[in-house]
Amino acid sequence: MNTDHQDDQFYLARKSENLRRRAGLISGIRHFFAQNNFLEIETPVRIPAPAPEEYIEAIPSDDWFLQTSPELCMKRLLAAGYPRIFQFSKCFRADERGGRHLPEFTMLEWYVAHFDYRQLMDQCEALLLAALQDTEHGKNIIWQDKTVHLAPPWQRITVADAFSQFAPIDLREALAQDKFDEILVEYIEPRLGINRPTFLCDYPAQLAALSKIKKTDPTVAERFELYIGGMELANGFSELTDTDEQRRRFEEASEARDAKHWAHYPMPEKFLTALKHLPPCAGIALGIDRLAMILAGTSCIDDVVAFPPEAL
């Protein structure tokens, strides 16, 4: 689309309040991490081998790829003895574009050695409360006509319970019929984080990704997602530290990717080697653009970045 300078000014000026809120949010988050002895790090955006995941496709860059997440490099740092690290990073995912998706987006990712996913949920709660306390959303968030009360503790509900409460079929049936994602999107997500933020936790073991299987219940993984106002904001887990198991899951994902002719990634060997030295830990990725959407009161991710791809 051709726009003249006055049009450009018009579109960008309309975003100034949102961009200011976004900047304030990011500085609030940095302040929290500084106070909690975290080290801010930067890892490369361009990498030779992304983690093979069945439904996340990287964008190629010469013979390498743009990262889909900084996870592998961050865990290598953790394995090398950095116990508390965080970073804001640009992540790239092919063909992801919608009201809540940009193919280039900003992720906040942090890791804590000797934490499990429950402790990380507590910390996530504390971080967001601290980052929001100086905004008009200190006590509650009003987003898309929903008032979400932030007073802790936030709701925690298992995936199995969420299916029995909100879905027409239970979790076991949904998995057997290969309808997990559809039901999650249609019946469950819109009902999460409505009165207060919700952590959806204990994902089925087959959806563990890079998370640890729960000792007391091997059918589920120690994985959670945070929802506010029906929107997914973060994904975290107790990290898998078993190299053989991780390699097996990567191989499985690679096979599924090969079957649909998606790009074949080299096995991230340096990461797998580092995993042998990874202490028990937990990590989480939080979408900054989406959090900014909530602060800005908008349902469209374009409103919280200066330039969505179509404006370039």
Binding site: Y55, D95, E96, L184, V185, E186, E189
Partner: protein
């Protein structure tokens, strides 16, 4: 044949031998799950709507629709009359079939009439139209904030929000899918 990545608002598909248009479209992707395409579909003949979620592996038949250039003549009662300039045949569309296209319909302009099995069922507008602003308040002196908008009227009588710097007599480009202002057209 379409694949899921072709899906978007306004796309026309054939489902159970009837033409459908996508009236709402959302790309969704839960956590580490698969890409899903939530749509609201409207039957282009009877107007019935339903919601459906598709996967990225799904494929679709395109609706066997034909478009024919015709000239818009006039409105008569609640019917809109168009003429086929090749054979001078006249066809009529109801208000419902014309829908929001009425906002961009000028007397005597050429439009694409949509035919399903040779029956006229609607208008197929281009994605962008250019119309002249016919009524606008002058740019108020104190109003210097670059992001502000004001309502103006265009040739068709349609009222639209535009940046305050747009003035009467200027031509603007409008996205017919959203009905929103895009940019000024110079010259």
């Amino acid at each position: 044949m379409y694949t899921a990545s072709d899906l978007r608002k306004g796309l026309r598909l054939k489902i159970d031998n009837e033409p459908y248009i996508i009236t709402e479209f959302n790309f969704v992707k839960p956590g580490k799950g698969q890409a899903l395409y939530r749509t609201k579909l409207k039957n282009m003949i009877n107007g019935n709507q339903f919601e459906r979620t598709f996967r990225s592996v799904d494929t679709f038949d395109s609706a066997d629709l034909r478009e024919k250039k015709m000239q818009y003549l006039y409105k008569e009662g609640d019917k809109y009359c168009f003429m086929d300039n090749e054979n001078y045949e006249q066809v009529y569309l109801t208000e419902e079939q014309v829908g929001d296209s009425v906002n961009f319909l000028l007397d005597n302009i050429e439009v694409e009439i949509l035919l399903f099995e040779d029956r006229p069922i609607g208008i197929s507008l281009p994605n962008f139209v250019e119309l002249i602003v016919t009524e606008a308040e002058p740019w108020a002196k104190g109003d210097t904030a670059a992001g502000n908008t004001k309502p103006v009227k265009v040739q068709t009588g349609y009222t639209i929000l535009v940046p305050t710097f747009v003035s009467e007599g200027e031509k603007i480009r409008i996205d017919t899918r959203t009905g929103e202002y895009l940019t000024r057209v110079k010259g």
